[in-house]
Amino acid sequence: MLSENFTAILARNEDWSAVATTEPYEAGWAREAVIFVRTLKEPQGPQPKAIVELSPDGIRWLPEGSLLQLPETKDGIAMARIAHFGNWLRLRAVFDDGASSTVIVTLHLKS
């Protein structure tokens, strides 16, 4: 039996500024995950490190420990590997005033 794997699009062409998060995603069947962020337009201002977050219920969140430096140029790609995450995953980024980025965030899961 081949192991399952799945690519989920968590955010597509979303303009991120201030406090931005992906929608919660359940992936309890997967043992490992990789999150990619690609910038679709030229980012504005300083780009923060995004934070991978875990949750017991999809409602309350806390940092998983992985950080992901958001790209500083158009078509830049950043990535974080995640394991032992339970079920819920999301990505969160806090931008300075005036800073923003248009991103596509993809989650790659493998059982």
């Binding site: 799945f6 597509r12 929608e23 359940e26 309890g28 069947w29 017991p56 219920d57 409602i59 596509i104």
Partner: protein, 310 residues
């Protein structure tokens, strides 16, 4: 349901007989995975979501050159996920007979929708049957019943005949359970006979788009009021059975059942629009959820069986 008699000019399928019909019925009734379905002769797909997403993907909108050309209705869609219906107070609820269900989740803003789609093509113009076990709930962010927080859930087909069928339409039967609107608990089935106008996408004249799940244009299915089992707190769910038959030859709804209720479909109309130049023999099936409030709505799909009378 096939009755052992050939029902039409099926060009790609062998004729069936009484013995086959009896054997199929017996084999399926003895199979715990299929016994709770009532499929037509040919099972096109049987998805239990214990084997992955089973070909149910995100409904993405059309675009050209830039994603900015995608209509907002589609831009809000995200990927469906596999869920054990884990709740903060009671843990994983699980499905009918496995751990996992497909979960279609909206964003947390009033009117937000999300859609999952299975994209197929058809090989016979014959009756097809869509069966599913589903349930819906709002995100359990409040210690309240929240029974009027989910606006609707539903399903649709997106169909178009073959390239040699002559003058035909693209046909899109839509059905939704309007659970609530503006805080009122309405609980009724509706259909949608008209879509919104098409918007050209890009400037190559190759792509257009229409958001057929826009909130306007829904009509009440005659006799379509139905109170479903919602249960007594936001984290208790019960699975509901759906069955919808549609004839791909006449492009006409044949029947609809939800649990113990069989509805009169004589007043049902699908959306009909001119055939499009790249969609020949298309057989798409969608499931969708819609929230009425600033809280995520979840449609959970335990299993789906799509079958055809060929």
């Amino acid at each position: 349901m096939n009755d052992g008699k050939e029902t039409g000019p099926l060009t790609n399928a062998p004729a069936f007989d009484d013995m086959e019909t009896a054997m199929l019925r017996a084999l399926r009734l003895a199979d715990p995975a299929l016994s709770r379905f009532d499929p037509m002769r040919r099972i096109i797909s049987h998805d239990d979501f214990a084997r992955g997403h089973c070909g149910w993907s995100q409904l993405v909108g059309n675009y050209e050159d830039t994603l900015d050309t995608m209509l907002p209705g589609y831009a809000q869609h995200t990927s469906a996920m596999l869920s054990t219906l884990g709740h903060w107070d009671a843990g994983s609820h699980g499905g009918v007979d496995s751990s996992y269900a497909l979960k279609i989740a909206t964003r947390p803003r009033p009117g937000a929708q999300n859609v999952a789609i299975k994209r197929l093509t058809m090989r016979e113009r014959c009756p097809i049957r869509f069966e599913a076990f589903v349930t819906f709930k709002p995100e359990a962010t409040e210690l309240k019943l929240s029974e009027a927080d989910v606006r609707s859930f539903g399903f649709l087909f997106d169909l178009q005949g073959g390239d040699e069928d002559g003058p035909i339409d693209r046909v899109m039967p839509h059905m939704r359970f309007l659970n609530a609107a503006d805080g009122k608990h309405l609980q009724k089935w509706q259909f949608k006979p008209e879509t919104t106008k098409f918007t050209a996408i890009g400037d190559s004249d190759k792509t257009a788009s229409h958001y057929h799940l826009a909130p306007d244009g829904w009509k009440d299915l005659p006799g379509g009021a139905q109170r479903l089992c919602y249960n007594e707190i936001a984290t208790k769910v019960n699975w509901t059975y759906l069955r919808f038959d549609f004839d791909l030859a006449e492009m006409k709804a044949l029947s609809f059942r939800c649990n113990d209720r069989e509805f009169d479909m004589s007043g049902f109309e699908p959306i009909r629009i001119p055939a499009m130049k790249n969609l020949w023999c298309m057989l798409n099936v969608c499931l969708f959820a819609e929230t009425d409030v600033a809280k995520r709505a979840f449609l959970y799909v335990d299993s789906v069986c799509i079958s055809g009378d060929f």
